[in-house]
């Protein structure tokens, strides 16, 4: 071991807690800035479903729109965004303008989670309907197979029904332009 004078040694030892506190402070600062930028959410659950085929399900449509099943998703050749939403959920309402602009880039298939067809239709009538297909998961059991813990949550389905991306939060302008659309472009090419 190298020999420091007692005073230097003491100073070095004293700097350990200081460096530790600085490290912790930096981590907190990073967490908080990422949280406000929307790139980090401490409540996110990393779903194990990522990069796996969609779980088996068949759901009825919200008339007049057609429902869909896992088989249909598995036969797709182009990406589709599946969105779990509900008329009783305020973040879902806030997400609607983004979905309405997003529908120009890729098809959006909605699943109304624990909702009544009447309320869903009313909700989409007021906010505008971005969905090409619209299914209902009345009891929320299909949602559990997908590992959702709330609404809205969205899943990007690639060719062969493989889940390529999962977003457990409302879609924002930022996630759409910086994450989702580049990814869609990447997996379509």
């Amino acid at each position: 071991m190298t020999h420091f004078s007692p005073l230097t040694r003491r100073r070095l030892l004293m700097s350990i807690p200081l460096i530790g506190a600085m490290g912790i402070g930096f981590s907190f600062w990073k967490m908080l800035t990422d949280m406000s930028a929307g790139t980090f959410n401490s409540h996110d659950i990393n779903t194990p479903i990522l990069n796996r085929p969609v779980p088996y399900f068949t759901l009825p449509g919200v008339i007049p729109q057609q429902g869909f099943s896992s088989t249909e998703l598995k036969h797709l050749n182009t990406p589709v965004l599946v969105i779990f939403f509900a008329s009783w959920c305020i973040p879902c309402l806030e997400e609607m303008p983004i979905l309405l602009s997003l529908k120009n880039f890729l098809p959006l298939w909605g699943i109304a989670y624990k909702d009544s067809p009447y309320n869903v239709k009313e909700f989409l009538h007021n906010s505008g309907n971005p969905f090409t297909r619209l299914a209902e998961d009345r009891h929320g059991l299909v949602g559990i197979d997908w590992g959702i813990s709330g609404v809205p949550e969205s899943f990007l389905i690639g060719a062969g029904g493989i889940i390529r991306w999962h977003n457990p939060n409302p879609l924002t302008e930022e996630t759409m332009t910086h994450i989702l659309l580049p990814l869609v472009k990447k997996i379509s090419s």
Binding site: N46, P48, I49, I144, S149, G150
Partner: protein
């Protein structure tokens, strides 16, 4: 009058001695008719994290998702599936995060071993600092003539 106070006292003492676990089963209809199966379902549910209120188990939480998951656990228990099978079913959908008690695996090895390692590490550090410090301290140099004189003066000062 006195009788009712006695009853109340006994009740309070009993409550303290045998605390009922306050679970969030909102509706007695949720419970399985077979008490043994119900107890097993509760034991499983207590190991599963509610994904809405993340530090509560699904048995403690009254969120809608927790209620759905409780129902699923009970359905699987009624079908006679093993505890491990039911927990795996949940992990498949929600990941290892759903387990309030993390499984022992290569990624949780450090987590599980720290409580056993910590005392050893602490003893090692204490030993290292204490003995090494003792050894490196140089013996005190004897006092010089001048210091001795000064010491004598100081001692005299206090005595007079």
């Amino acid at each position: 009058m006195k009788f009712s106070t006695l009853f109340k006292t006994i009740f309070v003492v009993l409550c303290i001695l045998f605390p009922f676990s306050l679970l969030a089963v909102d509706d007695p209809e949720e419970m399985l008719p077979n008490p043994k199966a119900e107890a097993r379902a509760e034991a499983i549910g207590e190991q599963l994290r509610c994904l809405v209120c993340q530090n509560e188990s699904i048995e403690d939480s009254s969120s809608a998702l927790a209620r759905d998951l409780r129902k699923i656990v009970r359905e699987h228990v009624a079908q006679g599936e093993s505890n491990q099978h039911i927990i795996n079913w949940m992990v498949q959908r929600y990941g290892a995060f759903i387990r309030l008690r993390p499984a022992f695996s290569s990624s949780t090895l450090l987590l599980w071993s720290v409580p056993f390692l910590a005392p050893f590490i602490g003893c090692f550090i204490a030993y290292f600092f204490y003995y090494r410090h003792k050894k490196t301290l140089p013996p005190h140099a004897p006092l010089t003539q001048e210091e001795k004189k000064r010491l004598n003066i100081l001692i005299k000062d206090t005595h007079s």
